[in-house]
Subunit: 328 residues, 4 copies
Amino acid sequence: MSSIRPIKHARHFVYNVLQNNQYDSFFSRYIDYFLIFLIITNVIAVIAESVDVWYYPNQIYFDVFEDFSLIVFSIEYLLRIWSVIEERPSKPSWGQRWEWAKSPSAIIDLLAILPSILNFFVVIDLRFLRILRLFRLLKLTRYFASMRILLTVLSKERGSFQAVIFILFIMIVLASSGIYVVENHAQPEQFESIPKAMWWAVVTLTTVGYGDVIPITTAGKILGAVITILGVGLAALPAGILASGLANELAQRREEMEQNFRELLLDEDVDLVQNQARVEAIRCELGLAKEAAQDILLQVIREQRLEKRERAVEKKKNFCPHCGESLH
Amino acid sequence: MSSIRPIKHARHFVYNVLQNNQYDSFFSRYIDYFLIFLIITNVIAVIAESVDVWYYPNQIYFDVFEDFSLIVFSIEYLLRIWSVIEERPSKPSWGQRWEWAKSPSAIIDLLAILPSILNFFVVIDLRFLRILRLFRLLKLTRYFASMRILLTVLSKERGSFQAVIFILFIMIVLASSGIYVVENHAQPEQFESIPKAMWWAVVTLTTVGYGDVIPITTAGKILGAVITILGVGLAALPAGILASGLANELAQRREEMEQNFRELLLDEDVDLVQNQARVEAIRCELGLAKEAAQDILLQVIREQRLEKRERAVEKKKNFCPHCGESLH
Amino acid sequence: MSSIRPIKHARHFVYNVLQNNQYDSFFSRYIDYFLIFLIITNVIAVIAESVDVWYYPNQIYFDVFEDFSLIVFSIEYLLRIWSVIEERPSKPSWGQRWEWAKSPSAIIDLLAILPSILNFFVVIDLRFLRILRLFRLLKLTRYFASMRILLTVLSKERGSFQAVIFILFIMIVLASSGIYVVENHAQPEQFESIPKAMWWAVVTLTTVGYGDVIPITTAGKILGAVITILGVGLAALPAGILASGLANELAQRREEMEQNFRELLLDEDVDLVQNQARVEAIRCELGLAKEAAQDILLQVIREQRLEKRERAVEKKKNFCPHCGESLH
Amino acid sequence: MSSIRPIKHARHFVYNVLQNNQYDSFFSRYIDYFLIFLIITNVIAVIAESVDVWYYPNQIYFDVFEDFSLIVFSIEYLLRIWSVIEERPSKPSWGQRWEWAKSPSAIIDLLAILPSILNFFVVIDLRFLRILRLFRLLKLTRYFASMRILLTVLSKERGSFQAVIFILFIMIVLASSGIYVVENHAQPEQFESIPKAMWWAVVTLTTVGYGDVIPITTAGKILGAVITILGVGLAALPAGILASGLANELAQRREEMEQNFRELLLDEDVDLVQNQARVEAIRCELGLAKEAAQDILLQVIREQRLEKRERAVEKKKNFCPHCGESLH
């Protein structure tokens, strides 16, 4: 037991530093900064390696940096999977570890190290390996609160996105088939088949319009114009849905915050303006900005005051129904 | 009568499997999956047929698959029109069938088989026939809930769309006429007439910008710049309207769900959290996601509790300050 | 006086047919249809005249049609200015006519005929005259309700539009100056001066991207990339503002309709569901769709019922404060 | 003391004219107009100077105008920093001046004159100096109210913008790396390295699509199509967020105005319709349009009337059904 205690202490410390969002110390913050810095420099390294005049003279440094990064990310992964059981100490540890290993952020962590480790056993094409190392970029999502709100919106609005992608798919199929029929004779090279015509359809419907494939017959130009006018709306639709979804999500969270404050103000006569810790806890959970939280709090207090005054004005006109005297 | 009964039973079964959305059995679900799969493979076949190196060696398989699909979709259409009278058994059957045959989804079903059937009697250009077979793609709309919401929004916001298309039409006419006047002398080939200049106007106003027709005079460039700046907003407008219309529609449906829950909670002291069947029925009718329904339900219950508590707090203070008796 | 009466009657009839939106007869509707048809055929004629192979063989028909249109639009203008005084018969007639002649729709009407009339006295370049005849297109705005809502939104959101256009102007100036400095040496022809570089800036910031002028130096490409990423948002901004403004305007009108209905239902115990004339009047004034009006009406009635029931449930628990008996 | 008084008076006058927004005289307004005019002509001069055929023949006039502008803007800056202490006369003057000099608008004012002043001591490349003189354009922000609202929205939504820029950055890195791997062999010139491929990624993801670099392999086209479809939404996202943020901000300000009016109407029985000065003060503080303020005011008054009437209707029925006495 004497040997287990320090291990448990260490594991709890590691858990707090790496996994616990509530825990916030000088050390844990610097570990976060170091990891963010390492991820970004890794991405820069991958990009720089593709430039021959930068890579070949400094190959040794790039390789050392890659080895160092791989070791750090591997240790990070192992420490995370080892310490995660501290989250709910009562549960069986291996089940909890397996649970964590299946979570999206754990899979990202694994994908960030797996290709480079595999490379020791199997030879992977260097160019392809570089791309796989870019998965490390996705590790950044853990450190940005607004990213998580965006992902929530994406998952909430997935019904709308499905509908839009489905329509976009129908539009591409119909547009490429139509242009294939009218342009195939005039430009047998460019509009050889429907799959080839799809390149034109995608480039046009998304309004990129490179200009490498263009309808030249009058019928093709008329069809192209109709497709473009109809398509423009659709291509910009996902952004519109995402933007209004984001606005909606933030509005809902603000409302929930408001309700939370109202309940608290009703409950105890706690002075929320003073008791910032409580406000902060609610704010963190909902992922809103500090400024917004203060605005809402003041708004709620102000509204309650207004209601009180309205009620007071109302009461002035009341008389006790029992003794007939005015209530004031 | 003994011969009519089994027919009626069969017809009711077919109706349930094909037409009845409320009915949900293992068999009906697999029929749906099979039809969705057949539609998608048909579309892929049409696209693949346009590639000569894929089509000519396998012509026989493509033809067999087309014949098979045609038979399946024809049987589906006949079964639908035969069984649809089970919806309202009291009404005259032929009138009901005619009613159904005029509905949009029935017309799509008919368009999916008609060209191929006509092909037996009249010879249609093969390339054109293929495009007509793509109408089968539209049969998919029946199976996606979010598609129907999108169509509802499109029909609700059709006033705004009319206005935007009308303005876009005015913009195209004015832009092409203007550029025709200023560029006609410099590029008599490209800006030969207003209809020819319209190709430039559409490509520019939708921001596709192929680059095949470009103003080269200074006046043309200034006019082009002004048109582009004004036009950019307009081209993206339909998407914006659709997106905010969609957000609006969903918000309205959520509100209606909220009101439904509130009425139910007031009516009986039914525990809606337990009675999920009732919640599900309301949810299905409004076409919302399961998650959203649960969120709204919890929100309604929470609000009612808060209101109750606020009323209780209010009551506590309701004693006459003069005689000390309760005001009730 | 016996000669004035029939004139007054005729004037009132003409006013009703041409100007009065409330007046709706078989005849006035067909006059509207005829004018809309004439405007559209005029626009088509202007476009067709620019095609030499269509114009020269049929010059005589085009000229006759133009003369006919000019006469009709001139008579329309004269009848409108003559009959407009019927709107407020008590006011001085010439002042009222002058008032009308200054209104936007009257100016559009005048611009539709003025260039062709001037052409009798001064010889105008034929090509330029055609463009001026396209002003007739704007006469259509009178006949579309959704157009007027759009214009209201444009005028309400003009503050936001000013801000966006101002920023877009700053962006264009800064982008063209920046690219001029870095690309001037490499492409002295294309980026000869800031005004010339502005063509690139406009084409890029609006995402049209013809590809006729492209930065080729590394510095130019980096600057171009930064400008493009920042600019994309700005170019699409007006559409977003317009779309959310439109949604806002419609929501506000729906709310006003709701309040109107609520007031009416409180006032008299009028059955609004039966009394459709009243509902229609409110609907017309606010320019909303018929379907939306019915939805809102049913919603208001339903809400009032719910409120009544909630109050009834509340009352059940009440006892009379005077005699102590339950209130039921 | 007799010499200090006139200075103090002068300083107060200068402060009112240049810095005080509340102060509004004929003179201060014309000073504003003059400064706006000078800024705009300066920008036009910088642009015109880059055109050789305009600059060289008139070099002397351009130089005189630049010297004049520099003197005016320098005097303006000195007067502002001298008079700003009148804002809060009780505070120490140098601290206040330092405070002002660090504010964004003061930094813009300084940047507008600094490069030209530095040019007297150090020789700056003429072309670069011109760009720096364009900073004067930013001085305009002071004079536009809607600009300030836009900046508020930008700062409030900065969380969302961070998320979007972060995703856009990830998309660009992944897209350019992917296309580099598949197109590098086919077009070693164009897709030489990831940084070079980034030019294609930016041009495509922002839908500019110049057409100078285009994938030509089948794999490249498929990857390009997928990237384009996913990217279109993202590039338009900032505009969507900004637009809905702007709508949100304006809605919030309208609501705050409403609450202010409600409080005032409750407080005193002030007739706000008459007392326009009070309405104007609230309106100015919130930066809303005059029309909107009047609309809201009328709406609040109307709602209060409706509420009063509803309460009156309610009271009428408040008699005990048992003893017939009023419940009050």
